[in-house]
Amino acid sequence: MTKVTLTVNGRAMSGECEDRTLLVHFIREKLGLTGTHVGCDTTQCGACVVHMDGHSVKSCSILAVQASGSTITTIEGLAGQGELHPVQAAFKEHHGLQCGFCTPGMVMTAVDLINREGGTLTEETVRAGLEGNICRCTGYHNIVKAILAADAEMAGGRQAAE
C-alpha cells in the first residue's frame, strides 16, 4: 500500500492504495467522489475525465500513485456549491444529457476544449474534440450545440472582462 496525496477540488486529501489502483478508482472509492464514472476498460469512453493540473486526463489511464502531488478537479468541484459552470448550464439549457452517465466526462472534456480553443470552436472542431468521449443517448447533437453555446457565452464573458 502506498500513500497518495492530492489536492482535489481545492482540498488536500490523502489515502492509502495498492500501487495498481487507477486514479479513477482512488477518486471514487477512497475519496467517495462518485461523479467520475467508469464506462470502459480501454480508455475509450471518457466517462472518467477529470482535470489534473489544469488539463483533462482520463483518470482510468493513470495510476493514483502517479498522480500523487497533483491538483485534481472533478465534476463535483467544477462550480461552487449549488452553482453551475457555464458549460454545465449550457448542457442543461440545450438538453445535452439524458442518462447522465457520460455527462461528467463530457463536461470536463468540454471545459478543457474551451480552455484550449475557446472562441475559435466550430461544429467540426467540437466534434473532433469529443473523439475521446462516447455518449450512447444523445447522438451528440445537443452536446455539440451546448458546447458551442457555452463557448460563445464564455467568449462574451472574456471580452467583457478585457
Partner: protein
Amino acid sequence: MGVEGIGARVTRKEDKRFLTGKGRYTDDMTVPGMKYACFVRSPYGHAKISNIDATAAKAMPGVIDVLDGKQLQADGIGNLICGWMIHSKDGTPMKMGAWHPLAVDTVRYVGDAVAIVVADSSGEARDAAEAVVIDYEQLPVVTEAVAALASGAPQIHPEAPGNLIFDWQIGEPEAVDKAIAAAAHVTEIEILNNRLSPNPMEPRATLGIYDAAEDHYTCYTTSQNPHVARLVMSAFYNVAPENKLRVIAPDVGGGFGSKIYIYPEEIICLWASKKTGVPVKWTSDRTEAFLTDAHGRDHVSKVKMAFDANNRITALKVDTIANLGAYMSLFSSAVPTYLYATLLSGQYAIPAIHANVRTVYTNTVPVDAYRGAGRPEATYLLERTMETAARELGVSPAELRRTNFIRTFPYQTPVIMNYDAGDYEASLNAAMQAADWNGFAARRTQSEAKGKKRGIGMSCYIEACGIAPSAAVGSLGAGVGLWESAEVRVNAVGTIEVLTGSHSHGQGHETTFAQLVAGRLGVPIESINIVHGDTDKVQMGMGTYGSRSGAVGMSAIVKALDKVEAKAKKIAAHLMEASEEDIVIENGELKVAGTDKSVPWFQVALASYTAHNLPSGMEPGLKETAFYDPSNFTFPAGCYIAEVEIDPDTGETDIVQFVAADDFGNIINPMIVEGQVHGGIAQGIGQALLENVQYDENGQLLTASYMDYAMPRADNLPSFKLSHQNTPCPSNPLGIKGCGEAGAIGSPPALINAITDAIGHNKLTMPATPMKVWQALQTAH
C-alpha cells in the same frame, strides 16, 4: 398549455444532479461491510465442465468465499426462463433449454458464468477468480443461426433437437403464394440484419444485501423494470418471496432494452450475500458487458414482394431465421415474432402477408430486445425491399411508396395490427421538402465534379409501441400484463408526489411526468416530485421499454389525477358552498365558474388532511391510485431521408444530411422528444455504418471492447434535421404514440438505400464499412 405544462420545452428537473456529479448509480452505492464479486466465466464457446477446484483461490488474500453452480442448485435457486410462450406452427411449444444462473455441467457461450468469488476488494476478487481451476472438455461450436440449423451442427441443448427453438408462422401462406404466381413483378431480396451490442454507457451492476435478522433481501440493480425483476426473482428463481425482496433501480445510465432482463448476476449476488453473510456488489466491466449483456437483431431473411401492373403490392412473403444465442432470454421469443412479423405491413396496404420465423440456439450471448426490438428488423427488411422494387420497376422510391400508402384509418393489417391513426404522406412530403429532394440531381453533379459518389435514400417506418393491451399480449403468449400504474399523493401543504411504475434511465420522466401534473392543476413544477424505481415505495408497475412510458405510464397518471381532481372538487364545493359541477381548476386554484369565489389548491389539500370540514361521509386524505391498461398499441410512423457522399478511393461514407419527419401523436416536451430521436438515429447510423458483433469460428467474441466494436462518436455523425407531423393517438387519453425507438427503426434502411444509390450496387450488408463499400464499388456497374 402553460409554460410548464404539456407541449412546453421545459428544461429537465433531473439535470442538476447529473451535471454536478450527484447522480446515484448502482456502482456508487456502498453499505457497511460490503464486499466485491468477480465472476469466473467460461473461456470456451461450448464445453463440458469436468471439475471445479477453488482450493487455491479460497486461500488467496482477502477472499471470503468461492461459490459454484452445484451449491446454487442445492439451495433451490431456479433456472432463468423466457417469459413469452410461442408455439410452432405444428402446435408444439417452444423448446426452452435449461439456463442455470451458474453453469452446472455445460457452458454454452464465452462468458457463461461458472463461479463467483467474493473478496474484500474488487482487485482481490479478480486475482482469485483467475486462480479458480476449472477443467473443461471442449465441444464443437456454432455461432451462426443458419449453420446451427444445418444437419450435423453441434447440438447445444438436449431439449431442442437440431437447435430449433420454434418454427412459427403468421399470415396466409396460400393467398400469398397465389398472389406471387399471378404477379406482374416480383422483387426478391435476401436481408441480413447485423448483430449489435446495446452498450448503455453505465455497465450493469448489482448490490445484493441479505439481512439475516429480518430474513430480507435488498437488491440494488441497473434495471429498467425493478418490479418485474422482483416478480421474476421471486416467482421463478426462488430467491425470496416478494415481501422479503426489495428491488431498487436508482439512477440508471441508459438501457436500450439491455436492462429489461433479469440476468444471472442479480440472482447470484443476492444468494451469495446470504451464503457469505456480507453485502455483495458486482460491477460489470466493459468487456464483460460485451460478453454478457443481451445482444440485439441477428436475423437472416429471404423476401418476395409481389406487384400488380399498377405497381401495387399484392403480397409479401418472408422467411426469417433469428439467432437467439445460447439461452432464451426473458423476452427473446417475442422479438422475432410478435414485435417483428406483425409490423411487416409497414405503411402499406398489402392484401396478403406470410412470414415464417425459425429461432435457433447458437454458442453466442443470448439475444433479446434492443432499441426497437423486432421493429427495426421489419422496417429494414421492408424498406430495403421497397427501394429495390422501385429500382427494378423504374419508378421513383417516393412514387412507389405513395402508390401503396394506407390512407384510411382504422386499418386492419393481415398480421394482427390495427393501425388507429396516421398520415404517412404528410411525413413523406415534409421529409422530402426538408431534404430538398428535388435539388438532389444538381448536388450529385457537384459531387461527381469532385470525384465523389453521391446518393439519397428514404425509409418510411411504422412501429407498434406501448406493448399492450394486457389481454391481447396474454393471448399471444406473454407471461405478464402490460398495463402501468400510478399513485398521486397530494401532501397536506399541496405539494405532490407521483409514484410511477415506469422507470427513467435517461428519458426525463421526472420532468415530463411533472409537466402533466403542473399543466392539469396549475401548480408550480417545483412542487411536484416523481418517485420511481423502488419496489418498497412504488406499487407494482411494469417498467419502461417499447416506448411505453408516455402512452401507458402517463395515461395511468391521468387516471389517478382524474380521481384526485374529482375529490378535490368535492372538497372545494363543500368549502365554498357551491355545486361540485361548477368547480374548475385553474392556476393552482379551485374556482366556482362564473364567480370570483375560489380556494387555493394547498387549502383544499390541507382541508383533506385536517378533515375538520369535509363533505359528510368523505374519507380524509388526497391520494389516489390508478392502473391503466390501454385499448390498443400505438403506431408512431414517419419518413427518414439520408444523403451521403462517398469517396470512391477509400469507400468512406460521409453523411451530408439526415432528415427525420415523425408522427408521435401529441408531444409533452418537444426538447426531450427531439433528444430521443437524435439518440435513436445515432444508434441506427451505428448499425448501418459502424457496429457489428463478430465471433470467430471457436465462439470467441472478437468485438469485446471499444477498440474492436465501433461505437458512433461525435465525428461520425452529422447534426440532424427534425420535424413532426403529428396525428393524435385515439387509443390513450393523452393522444401520445411514443418516441423512444423511432430513430433506431427508421434510420438504417434510409442510409443503406442512400449508399446503394450512390454506388449503383444493391448488394451491401450492414455495417457498410469503408472496406465493404469500396469492394462493392469495384463490382458496381
